[in-house]
Amino acid sequence: MTTVEPSAQDIAEAPLAPFDVDAVRRDFPILGRAVRDRALVYLDNAATTQKPRSVIDAIKRYYEEDNANIHRGVHFLSQQATFAYERARGRVATFLNAVESAEIVFCRGTTEAVNLVAHGYGRGRIGAGDEILVTHMEHHSNIVPWQMLCKETGATLTVAPITEDGELDLAGFAEKLSSKTRLVAVTHASNVLGTVNPIRRICDLAHEFDVPVLVDGAQSAPHLAVDVQALGCDFYTLSGHKLFAPTGIGALWGRRELLEQMSPYEGGGSMIQSVTFESTTFAELPNKFEAGTPNIAGAIGLAAAIDYLNSLDMDQVSAYEDELLCYATDRLLTIDGLRLFGTAKNKVAVVAFALESAHPHDIGTILDTEGVAVRTGHHCAQPLMQRYGVPAMARASFAFYNTRHEVDALVSALLKVKEILG
């Protein structure tokens, strides 16, 4: 009996999970445009995602119909804007399964959320001799704020190791935990390796030492259903723009009792109860952490993005993304001289790689002339680059609107790189 290996074309045509990607693609206006006279193949979703029309329309509608400052005016528009902004907070709370909306603090994104915790929780609680534990796969935004806090307080930044496959070395992590540890900051999903970390297990280990855990959710929220209560973490951060919402909006979730103990991050309007020249009483949660006029339109856009995600069947989305990741991984491995970084068992749809014959920067430029957008460089994770002994990597990161044909376009473009530089 002879068996016939399916050709790449057969694989490309094979049916995926019952998920109508063409219908979804029509919801994202930018996906229809050409780049450099070719159909855009957007594979830089871990950097930022594209926006569905419903998000763009929600922002437009807000500016055309409801624009006013919130929490201040008694006039109609101010009430409309306040209602929409607080409704958005409620949407984020439900999306993360927070206990209550007051635990959601709007901020610019994950970076600001981490800084807010480093400032509001770290100062006054963390001092000389204490330790803050991160992992080797963190983004700079989950390293540098802690490093700055350590420098200021005399605390030490400790680093949990990862395996060659890009998984957290849990035994190594447990070894780094001690009575000196004051905080654990760990990414839910790596922006480079795609690794999904076992957050529940990490939290259980940390909580044995009464250490709170901050989870960087920038890369997980777009791919996984997030339930902060089930994860068991203490802080969770997300960036709207990686979640099909606009730039400049994100959220911090924190347990009420922790947020209540924390000092404000910035001082200013909105975050006060009363002010005299002698002293200020701060507002209740979450306003205490939202000084100044916030990104109202951004919050409304974020709510619209969450509504859009809720309109999809996330189990289908997740199955589709898993298949796309497998397909991309298999196809990339057919290229001679290609090295994959991040082969963890549990991954989101992110593939980092390097070619023997070409620097990632050159890969990026040549792919771009083929209309294929990928990220190249150190991915704001220089310690991770050092871990793998490379100065830079190329990364294709997928969203549910990407297709197998786009993976094929990536592979053909990479063959062209080899033709030019090989």
């Binding site: 070409a358 620097h359 990632p360 920067h361 050159d362 430029t365 040549i366 002339t369 190249t376 460089g377 150190h378 220089q382 680059m385 100065p391 830079a392 030019i420 530089l421």
Partner: protein, 154 residues
């Protein structure tokens, strides 16, 4: 594609594969380290500068893309035996060429061997790749090697 061929000219590919004057220079009396923090390119430029300002020898090493490596390699070839003033002039004309508007004509003859980098200006994101070695060299000439230089400080 033609823009791409213009960027990756054969000379650039050759220098990328076999860079000239690559590796540390033991006799160097000037050394500077340069970074491009946006992409992680990282190189060192080593100079042997005589008392009367002649670049008697020049080497580089480090890691980077084809453009930055070829640029560094060609630079070392061109500057060996030149005076420090000539090197600064070359820096200026090179910098001007790769950052010029795409509709400004380039004097390819005056650019000489460096004309192979004339395609870089079509790729604004790659200009810093081409200029990293040159900025590092210029800083090494100034002799102020206390801190590594960065393309983002330029």
């Amino acid at each position: 594609m033609s823009e791409l061929r213009e960027l990756y000219q054969q000379v650039i590919l050759d220098h990328n594969r076999k860079p000239h004057n690559f590796g540390p220079l033991e006799t160097a009396n000037r050394h500077q380290e340069g970074f491009n923090p946006l992409c992680g390119d990282h190189l060192h430029v080593y100079l042997l500068l005589s008392d009367d300002g002649i670049i008697e020898d020049i080497h580089f090493d480090g890691s980077g893309c084809a453009i930055s490596k070829a640029s560094a390699s060609l630079m070392t070839q061109l500057l060996k035996g030149r005076t420090d003033d000539e090197a600064r002039d070359r820096f200026d004309s090179f910098h001007q060429m790769v950052t010029a508007d795409t509709d400004t004509p380039i004097d390819l003859e005056a650019a000489g061997k460096l004309a192979v980098f004339s395609g870089v200006r079509e790729f604004p994101m790659r200009v810093k790749c081409a200029t990293l070695a040159w900025h590092t060299m210029k800083s090494a000439l100034e002799g102020d090697a206390k801190v590594p230089i960065s393309t983002e400080d330029q």
